[in-house]
């Protein structure tokens, strides 16, 4: 029914009515573009959630120097019968052991005692118990992927006249591998060689960069002054996740990263505040956390009865306890064995489900606009058949068969739909790109989405072509010629 010839005739006719053709194309293009963009938003949000879960550290274990936990919290969920009482007890009369300032879950707007005292033993548990040798030992455990030693200080960072009170993280070159949500906006992370030679190089978090050098600036090569020492800025790290951009006061991007060896040299110390560990698989987190505890107890020669002089936490417990009163959090975590395995998986499933629902909803809305675009084409073609009745009669009088006329109108509708579909794909890609770069939304254009948009456009073209084509071909030439 359709050959190149019919398409040629159809194109000729479409050219004769440029405004009508353009309007039909726009309707179709917007429909297809809407499908594409909404699917891209849905997919983007879905993978943003996935990334965030990964970035939240399904597989991260933090080992902190010192032990600020209260009695009974170390065993891992054996105090169920007393949980409420304990919580009540802690709530009503916080013991000396649970001084809020020492709680690792709390954020403080002032340097805590531990911070103020720096490396000296900070009362409870002692903060100077971890060493590089511990980190090396942990790295040797099976199932451990990366180990990053950390030295953390609060610090005033100066750049010229400007200054900013922020966190200083002394760390290893492995950190970017561990923190997947950290992207490098400018420059690079510091290198193994710089670490080895204890060079004074710094990577700025995006918030520090904004405060010291202006929003979005590229300070690579500039000088940062810490403790009256000049540090060369080699890079800027920023969040790769649009849902969690860096904010003032956060530990990740309101921060300066330097080689931990450099801090050791400048402060003349050798201990670590933290050791960050990633496991090869998220499911192993609990077991490896236990293995680390056991290893460190042996290394630190702690008798079975004595409390640990370090704290092993998984990110799962921190995520769950976020925003809760420390005592509540403690009880909660203590009472949920294998919490990192169960809860985060459930959380991720719930979020995935929510994202899928959102995606389906968006796609449904877009599909409506696509159908409207298709009806627009049908409408225009039907109108066109009526309006061009005499043309149809004339074509028949010069030898067009009914099927030739039908093919022409069918080809016109199909051409409109397919061209509109292609335009829609281009438009959708452009809009997605614009949304991503201007609003920072995560957009994920998939071939599947593009194929879907185009397939729907084709189906609409076929459907919207059939009816007008049948109408046109059923016309009687004499009636059509006489039509006024």
């Amino acid at each position: 029914m359709l050959d190149a010839h019919a398409v040629e005739i159809a194109l000729q006719s479409l050219r004769r009515y440029p405004l009508r053709t353009a309007l039909a194309l726009v309707g179709m293009a917007i429909g297809v573009a809407a499908v594409l963009v909404t699917v891209a938003i849905g997919t983007g949000a879905q993978s943003a959630i996935r990334n965030q879960l990964r970035a939240a550290g399904l597989n991260i274990i933090q080992v902190k120097a010192g032990n600020y936990r209260t009695k009974g919290d170390g065993g891992g969920g054996v105090l169920a019968p007393h949980a409420f009482l304990l919580w009540l007890d802690g709530w009503l009369a916080p013991t000396a052991h649970a001084h809020p300032e020492n709680d690792p879950m709390e954020k403080h707007d002032h340097p805590t005692a531990a911070d103020r005292l720096g490396d000296s033993k900070a009362g409870l548990g002692g903060a100077a118990t971890l060493t590089q040798a511990d980190a090396d030992a942990i790295e040797a455990l099976p199932g451990v992927a990366n180990v990053a030693p950390g030295v953390h200080e609060n610090i005033r960072a100066y750049a010229g006249e400007r200054r900013w009170f922020t966190r200083l993280h002394g760390t290893d070159v492995d950190l970017p591998l561990i923190r997947r949500a950290h992207g490098i906006a400018h420059g690079r992370f510091f290198s193994q060689r710089e670490l080895r030679r204890t060079e004074q190089v710094a990577v700025l978090g995006s918030v520090v960069r904004d405060k010291l050098f202006g929003e979005g600036a590229d300070p690579v090569g500039e000088t940062l002054t810490l403790w009256n020492q000049a540090f060369r800025i080699v890079g800027v790290t920023e969040s790769t996740n649009w849902m969690t951009p860096g904010t003032v006061g956060d530990d990740a991007f309101d921060a300066v990263y330097v080689p931990f060896t450099t801090i050791h040299r400048l402060l003349n110390v050798t201990n670590l505040n933290t050791i960050t560990v990633t496991t090869e698989s998220a499911g192993e987190v609990s077991n490896i956390a236990k293995a680390i505890s056991k290893l460190l107890r042996v290394r630190h020669a702690i008798p079975d009865t004595a409390p640990e002089d370090f704290t092993v936490t998984t990110q799962a417990s921190e995520v769950l306890a976020k925003g809760l009163h420390p005592n509540v959090a403690r009880v909660l975590i203590g009472n949920l064995p294998n919490l990192d395995r169960a809860t985060l998986q459930e959380l991720s499933m719930t979020l995935e489900r929510a994202a899928r629902t959102m995606k389906a909803l968006l796609a449904a809305i877009a599909a409506v606009s696509l159908v409207v675009g298709g009806i627009g084409i049908t409408n225009i073609m039907l109108l066109s058949v009526t309006e061009r009745t005499r043309e149809i009669g004339l074509r028949m009088s010069v030898g067009a068969r009914a099927r030739d006329v039908g093919a022409q109108f069918f080809a016109e509708a199909l051409t409109l739909a397919l061209t509109g579909g292609l335009l829609g794909i281009v438009l959708g890609v452009l809009v997605s790109w614009a949304l991503e770069s201007s609003l920072g939304w995560a957009m994920e254009l998939s071939l599947g989405g593009i194929a879907l948009g185009f397939a729907v456009a084709t189906v609409i073209g076929l459907l919207s072509g059939v009816f007008p084509a049948r109408r046109a071909s059923a016309l009687d030439p004499i009636q059509a010629l006489r039509y006024e």
Binding site: G393, S397, V398, R401, A402
Partner: protein
Amino acid sequence: MIRTEELTKTYALGEVSVEALRGISLEIEAGELVAVVGASGSGKSTLMHILGCLDRPTSGKYFLSGKDVSELSSDEQARIRNQQIGFVFQSFNLLPRTPAVENVELPLLYNAEQLTRSERRDRALAALDSVGLSERAAHHPSQLSGGQQQRVAIARSLMNDPSLLLADEPTGNLDTKTSIDIMTTLHALNEKRGLTIIIITHERVIAEYASRIIELSDGLITEDRPIEAATAPLAGV
């Protein structure tokens, strides 16, 4: 060329049926220029539709070039219209917003053997040239006068070298002077190419151009006579 035997055509208009043709038998030789005249409702348009293979008779036979075409399927009829018959209409029936040359090409789009774009263009331009409109090939109908539009339509009707040209009130929408032009053109086509032309008209003066006049009344032929001197009868008008 054309032979009909007792053509009848009955239209059913609800309960009432109207007999548009009540038994037309006629013969037209190749190369004749025939005028069919009659009052409106006399059946001349119906006759033209049947002769033009746009319609089928209710009964009777129609032989075109010796072949019975009264029982053909609509696809076969379309084929004959495309190859053997040219139409010229009162209202020109040019495609709006379309250059004259593309209007002229139209019949070629429906040829069984398809021509290339440039072949079509060449033949259309040649046809426009033969009606003296090669200068206006790119003009749209709205940019052409009535006479020019009708000449474009004539060029279109000649594209596939038809053996029969059917003109339905070709001058009905034109002033006298332009009418003379168009009739002269048709007359010349008949003289030079030997094209068989049937003109349907209700204007006597136009009919005077023909070599033969057939008059219809109430679906029957009431008069069929040759005209001796078919030269410029309009000169004195």
